[in-house]
């Protein structure tokens, strides 16, 4: 047994712990907001004003899919790079600098969101402090500039993290000329290349258009342009959420199963495919948008389908590695080997269940990607069903399971409550089955997402099997189980951190792949090449649609003023009067 990560790299371990701490705080608040939504939407228990629901929903989105996932990612990746290159960053002060930027950024975004709960939010930067614009912040809905500043700082911090890991790798390369990039570092570097490329969209959208407009430096913007720039980033980001889970599935899960990764070269191919394909597909989120030609939607659809390939490959490799592990442990038979897997290990079981949900969620994603079928489900509750299967479970549950394995190595403490942890991951699985089952079915009958009160005066939903009441009950039940599971996880983490005089019983070594890097062609490590191709593909997919949007209504749109979302209806009233006035004259 080798030395623990914390003993070998105490400085790096401190940073990873800080990142995980930020991640878990966000997770806790996000989960709390999740259960509030689940109870409010279904009208089972409404204790906030429906207007405040959107504050909650903004928080849920930002805390979970921006803060929880990405803070965890930077922590995990810092561990992966350090551990696989066997060296720390070039300058750890720089490492703390980007972490600091991310922390400040998310703090600013968080207070601007949470201020939405105040009856009388303070004035900041010339506007009321609030950000009820959800995590997609579609203009011309407008948040306080602080929200955009916070998000921008967070993104810049993440960029710098990527640069930091590249620097570490460059330094390592000089010390180890001619060596293959270790697999985990390879995964980190390719993920970050993907992020560099895809985040350009949202960074331009914020820094060039939305922030100056919210500060009243510019007067107008083009809502379709900022929306398209958001989705330029928006699909890439879903893989940014997913790839940390992939990293764990490829590197840790085979070991937990008792074996080794099946194929190193295919793992590299998978990550390269993500670099190439995850950005030029964003338009599949805009099938319903006017102003984007059908042809471009079609190209996005085709690319999206090819993006299934890396996930299919992953399914194969992960299952094959698990089978190998099971057979090493004495498993036999066509399917009986499944019994030989370490199901009592929460880290293993969590990841395996997450993978199972991911496979199912993937099929719902194919439905979303179908241009025609999407008409039925776009912006219906089906979509959060898909979201919770994927990032909400494939990623979140894998990260929790991974924490059970990693946190003891970061703290030097033994995991508290292994049995409870096992119960926790299974509980998450049960909760997600209930919640997403309800969301998928409700989505198919047309219940919209992002709505505080999805019941309307003019019509009733036509539920073919079961009833609306039953669907609501399932959603609330699933949400409650998930919330309990989330809290259990946090309690176990907390107890583990303070479980000082104990020895962790984790072995942190990761065995090499069955088919190692020597089997993978050298060209796979040519990161410049892949980045170049990825860049070209993005230009191909986006140059024309963006040019079209700008040609139609201009870079800055046609006099589109901001619409601050405040809890007061005054603005809308004024606007309505204007309109009525115009009708009368």
């Amino acid at each position: 047994m080798t030395a623990l990560f914390v003993d070998e790299y105490p400085a790096e371990a401190r940073l990873v712990k800080a990142a995980f701490l930020s991640s878990f705080i966000a997770f806790g608040i996000g989960a709390l907001f999740g259960i509030i939504q689940a109870l409010h939407r279904t009208d089972i228990f409404r204790f906030i004003d429906s207007i405040k629901y959107y504050t909650v929903l903004t928080g849920h989105g930002v805390f979970l899919v921006i803060a929880f996932t990405i803070f965890f990612l930077v922590g995990l990746y810092q561990w992966a790079v350090t551990d696989s290159l066997e060296r720390g960053p070039v300058d750890i002060r720089f490492t703390w600098f980007w972490y600091g930027l991310m922390a400040i950024g998310s703090f600013l975004a968080a207070i601007s969101i949470l201020a939405g709960f105040l009856e009388q939010p303070p004035m900041v930067l010339g506007a009321e402090l609030r950000a009820n614009v959800l995590f997609t912040f579609y203009a011309p809905l407008e948040a306080n500039p602080l929200y955009y500043i916070g998000l921008a700082l967070f993104l810049v911090g993440t960029w710098l993290a990527g640069i930091d890991w590249f620097r570490t790798w460059w330094a390592w390369r000089d010390e180890n000329p001619g060596e293959r990039i270790p697999l985990r570092t390879f995964m980190v570097l390719t993920t970050m290349m993907m992020f560099f490329l895809g985040s350009v969209g949202v960074i331009v959208s914020i820094l060039v258009f939305i922030l100056p407009w919210s500060l009243e430096i510019t007067e107008s913007l083009n809502p379709l342009l900022t929306r398209t720039l958001f989705w330029f980033f928006g699909h890439m980001i879903v893989y940014f959420w997913l790839l940390p889970a992939y990293l764990l599935w490829y590197s840790v899960l085979p070991k937990l199963s008792g074996g080794r990764l099946f194929s190193d070269p295919l793992a590299r191919v998978v990550f390269i495919l993500f670099v190439l394909l995850s950005t030029p597909v964003g338009i599949h989120h805009q099938y319903m948008d006017p102003g984007i030609a059908e042809g471009f939607k079609f190209i996005a659809m085709t690319n999206t389908m090819f993006l299934l390939l890396p996930s299919f490959l992953t399914a194969f490799t992960v299952v094959a590695s698990m089978e190998h592990g099971a057979r090493q442990r004495g498993g036999e038979g066509r399917f009986n080997w499944l019994q030989a897997l370490p199901w009592r290990n929460p880290a293993f079981t969590g990841m395996a269940l997450a993978g199972l949900v991911f496979a199912f969620g993937g099929f719902t994603g194919i439905v979303n990607a179908g241009m025609n079928i999407n008409y039925l489900v776009h912006n219906a509750l089906w979509i959060p069903g898909h979201i919770h299967a994927q990032v909400g479970t494939a990623t979140a549950l894998t990260l929790m399971a991974g924490s059970y394995w990693l946190v003891p190595q970061l703290t030097g403490n033994r995991l508290v409550g292994r049995q409870v942890a096992l119960f926790q991951v299974v509980l998450w699985f049960v909760g997600i089955v209930f919640m997403t089952n309800s969301m998928f079915r409700a989505g198919l009958v047309g219940v919209p997402r992002r709505t505080a009160e999805p019941q309307y005066q003019g019509f009733e939903y036509d539920v073919p099997v079961g009833s609306m009441g039953e669907l609501n009950a399932q959603l609330a039940l699933g949400g409650t189980l998930l919330f309990i599971s989330a809290m259990l996880f946090l309690v176990l983490m907390l107890l583990t951190v303070f479980n000082n005089d104990s020895e962790p019983i984790v072995d942190g070594t990761l065995p090499p792949a069955l088919s190692g890097p020597e089997d993978s062609p050298q060209v796979l490590d040519n990161l410049r090449l892949w980045f170049g191709i990825a860049f070209a593909l993005v230009v191909l997919a986006y140059a024309l649609p963006l040019a079209g949007i700008v040609a139609q209504s201009g870079l800055f749109g046609q006099d589109i003023p901001p619409f601050p979302v405040s809890s007061e209806a005054v603005m809308y009233l004024e606007f309505g009067l204007d309109y009525v006035g115009a009708l009368v004259t």
Binding site: R227, Y287, M288, D289, N372, G446, T451, G458, Y461
Partner: protein, 266 residues
């Protein structure tokens, strides 16, 4: 690169599946003639909507035999027009835009689904086979009242459906001995001529006239009553054309001084 035999089979299978998906979807969206939302429509600045020929007065209009256009404006937190009345078994093309923020245009449980983006016009064509009512909701978060934003699509049977508009007026007051003129205007928004009968009542006097209004045009009818016969005082009047009714009152005043010719339209 060394790839295991099983892996090769799996990759081949995956590729076949992917190409299969693409083919099915392409067939589903092109082969079946479903039109998608694209960029065919001109853009329009939200602050020019009021002066726009189409969106200045959001409405349903007949544009061809069995073809209608519905101009819909979404704004916080209503749809206009509301309700949207359309005939069954006709091709309806919705043109949807937004006056302020991004809204949605969604008939739950159907594939009538579009985003209403300020500056842009979404175009989608649908046909309803059966008369009935359908809820229309905004399914993109648009601000604090988002969950209240709904409209109604009323599909009428083809026979029942029309685009007739009736308006009528009389002077507010007349002096005894003067004639009371009741002007009724019947507008036919459809392309076919409208053959109908106008019935009117002023006090206890009744009138009737057959009328043919050409497609996309307007006809005026005037009924004249004698105020002396009606006598001094207030008199109710009513005009009906098919299912439409307009009512008002006219007063016969003895005092000659306050004679103002103001229009009274109820």
């Amino acid at each position: 690169m060394r790839i295991h035999q099983y892996e090769k089979i799996w990759i081949a299978g995956a590729m076949i599946l992917i190409v299969g998906f693409i083919v099915t979807i392409t067939y589903g969206s092109v082969g079946l003639g479903i039109t998608m939302i694209g960029d065919e429509e001109e853009t329009i600045a939200p602050d020019e909507l009021n002066d726009d020929e189409q969106f200045g007065e959001p409405r349903v209009e007949q544009v061809g035999e069995n073809e209608y256009a519905a101009y819909v404006v979404a704004q916080t937190f209503i749809f206009q027009p509301d309700p949207i009345e359309i005939p069954a078994n006709n091709e309806i093309t919705f043109y949807v835009t937004s006056r302020d923020v991004i809204h949605g245009f969604y008939v739950p449980g159907t594939n009538i689904n579009a985003m209403a983006i300020p500056g842009q016009v979404a175009e989608l064509t649908v046909e309803f086979d059966e008369p009935g009512e359908h809820g229309l909701i905004c399914h993109e978060y648009c601000g604090s009242g988002h969950h209240t934003m709904e409209g109604l699509i009323v599909v009428q049977s083809e026979d029942e459906f029309d685009l007739t508009e009736l308006s009528a007026e009389t002077p507010d007051t007349v002096a005894p001995g003067e004639q009371i003129q009741l002007n009724a205007t019947v507008e036919n928004g459809q392309l076919e001529p409208l053959e109908t009968t106008v019935n009117a009542e002023i006090g206890d006097q009744t009138f009737q006239q057959d009328l043919t209004v050409d497609g996309k045009s307007t006809q005026n009818v005037t009924f004249t009553a004698d105020s002396t016969q009606l006598g001094v005082g207030e008199h109710d009047w009513t005009v009906t054309v098919d299912d439409y009714e307009e009512t008002g009152t006219v007063e016969v005043v003895s005092n000659e001084t306050d004679e103002q010719a103001g229009g009274d339209e109820s």
